[in-house]
């Protein structure tokens, strides 16, 4: 892959609290006033110049006001400029892609809910209305419908990346567990959303899906009754699926995505398995030190043996 160097964002554009912290030892002209203050000190500025400067500073002032009261800049710089390991590549974007797919689902879902009627006798008509009469309705419905498949595909690819890169290992096991719960919740969303158009395909697919749930021994039959809200697929089944689809599970998904991303930032990401760990240049493991002192004739050398 050819290396692409992106142009750096000039520091002048970035508000001061969000600027990338300078590398140690890289600061020059320490303690010196900026050039423009030397050539044009405040007392020599005209009224218009002062106002212009104030206007330029206004966005930064607003940010500083918020920052002083929330301390958000420390968190944001820590999160946005966190170190990532060597070898980080495009596969690491699958999680963000899944998150983006979820956001698409959430936004289009809210707009669909403005036109959809979760009633067994009116649901199909309201979906037809969205598709055929509402301006851009077919587009929004299509984004939601196809986006659900996109999200399921992406979450599986993201899980595959995590698995094949060994990123589920210590200390990231909990994040794997949260991810699996998110996968189950995503499948729940796909299952409950499928019934909502209430056409022939939705109806029979949901009957088959509920009956597959029912084949679980002992609890299966009760689980089916719970999903259907009764012994047969009825009027309350649709409301139930609708409530699960747009109230219960999305809340859980948002909360768990928060926990998932907190742990990603807290623990950092892994290097791909083909990137070998660099050998330490100065410090060596204690066992090697011992061995070196004992047998390699470094006794009295005064410096640690290089590994």
């Amino acid at each position: 892959m050819p290396k692409i160097s992106l142009p750096k964002i000039p520091d002048k554009v970035v508000p001061a609290p969000l600027r990338k912290p300078a590398k140690p030892g890289s600061t020059d002209a320490k303690g010196q006033a900026p050039q423009d203050l030397k050539s044009a000190p405040p007392e020599r500025q005209t009224h218009v110049q002062k106002l212009t400067d104030q206007a330029k500073e206004a966005p930064v002032d607003v940010l500083a006001w918020v920052d002083q009261r929330t301390g958000a800049s420390g968190f944001l710089t820590g999160m946005l400029y966190r170190k990532v390991p060597k070898g980080t590549n495009w596969f690491y974007t699958l999680g963000s892609a899944t998150l983006f797919a979820f956001i698409v689902q959430a936004v289009t879902g809210v707009f669909l809910a403005m036109f959809y009627t979760p009633s067994a006798t009116q649901a199909y008509a309201s979906i037809s209305h969205i598709n055929n009469e509402v301006p851009l309705g077919a587009l929004v419905h299509g984004m939601h419908k196809w986006g659900s498949s996109v999200m399921v595909i992406l979450i599986f690819l993201h899980m595959g990346r995590t698995f094949f890169f060994g990123a589920y290992k210590y200390p990231r096991e909990l994040n794997w567990v949260i991810g699996v719960v998110l996968l189950i919740l995503t499948m729940t969303m796909a299952f409950t959303g499928y019934l909502l158009p209430f056409d022939q395909r939705s109806f029979w697919a949901s009957i088959v899906g509920i009956n597959i749930n029912g084949t679980g021994p002992v609890v299966g039959p009760y689980l089916s009754d719970f999903l259907r809200a009764g012994p047969e697929l009825g009027a309350t089944t649709l409301s139930r699926f609708y409530a699960i689809h747009m109230l219960l599970v999305p809340g859980a998904i948002i909360a768990l995505i928060g926990a998932h991303m907190y742990l990603v930032v807290k623990l950092g990401t892994t290097a791909p398995p083909w990137v070998k760990a660099e050998k330490p240049k100065v410090a060596a493991p204690v066992a090697q030190l011992d061995a070196g002192v004992e047998s390699n004739g470094h006794r009295g050398n005064g410096s640690a043996p290089t590994a």
């Binding site: 009957i207 002992v218 009754d225 012994p231």
Partner: protein, 224 residues
């Protein structure tokens, strides 16, 4: 109970040992619990009660339909002469009310046949719901079989499974005669010997140990 807080607050001190901190407000000799601990337990207990007061009714509301059995429903599907013993007649009737066409179901009805040791004055109503996963089966007159389009389940004339993935014979509906009309009532399932049991969902075995692995649901009607 000598827990950490008690030790710090000096509620329990070993004999002969000086307490190194001044007594907290309200402390008295021989108290078994610090004021802080009492309030902690009380606050958490009240919080638990308040949480349960919200969660329990909500969960109960969601799971209540499992234990609710609807009203028994009978529907007339045609005069006695409409049905014969050597073939089925298809009828469509409402099984679930309030959702329009989606609540309708199909049954295949014939007269009881002495060939199968059935009462000639009775009527057999076979459900068209495939017991594999719930697709609609069709009675194919030429073959005398019920055939499911989804995964190739095949049932014989009586509804017994003779091929494909289904796990038991087709469900049946209770029938009765009222005022010269055949009426169909609640659904029930059958074992492989066609003995009636309470209605099961598709995919669930019946008879023997399966009666315990797939227990009957309170929302279904007792078998005839």
């Amino acid at each position: 109970m000598a827990d950490e807080a008690d030790k710090i607050n000096g509620a329990e001190t070993a004999p002969g040992q000086q307490r190194d901190k001044p007594a907290p407000p309200g402390y008295f000799e021989g108290e078994s619990m610090t004021r802080r601990r009492v309030f902690t337990i009380a606050a958490q207990g009240l919080g638990g009660v308040a949480g349960a007061a919200i969660i329990l009714p909500a969960v109960g509301f969601a799971v209540a339909p499992i234990f609710h059995r609807g009203k028994e429903r009978w529907e007339a599907v045609g005069p006695l002469d409409d049905f014969v013993e050597d073939t089925y007649r298809q009828v469509v009737f409402t099984e679930t009310e309030g959702i329009g066409d989606a609540g309708k179901t199909t049954a295949y009805i014939r007269k009881g046949s002495p060939q199968f040791d059935e009462d000639p004055n009775s009527f057999v109503a076979v459900s068209n719901r495939c017991v594999h996963l719930g697709c609609p089966v069709r009675f194919v007159e030429a073959a005398g079989n019920f055939i499911c389009p989804c995964h190739g389940g095949v049932y014989d004339f009586q509804g017994k499974r003779i091929g494909g993935p289904p796990v038991r014979p087709l469900d049946q509906f209770q029938t009765r005669v009222r005022g010269g009309q055949v009426e169909v009532g609640p659904r029930y399932s059958v074992t492989s010997q066609l003995e009636p049991v309470r209605a099961r969902d598709p995919g669930e075995f019946t008879g023997g140990i399966w009666e315990y692995l797939y227990p009957p649901r309170p929302s279904t009607f007792p078998a005839p």
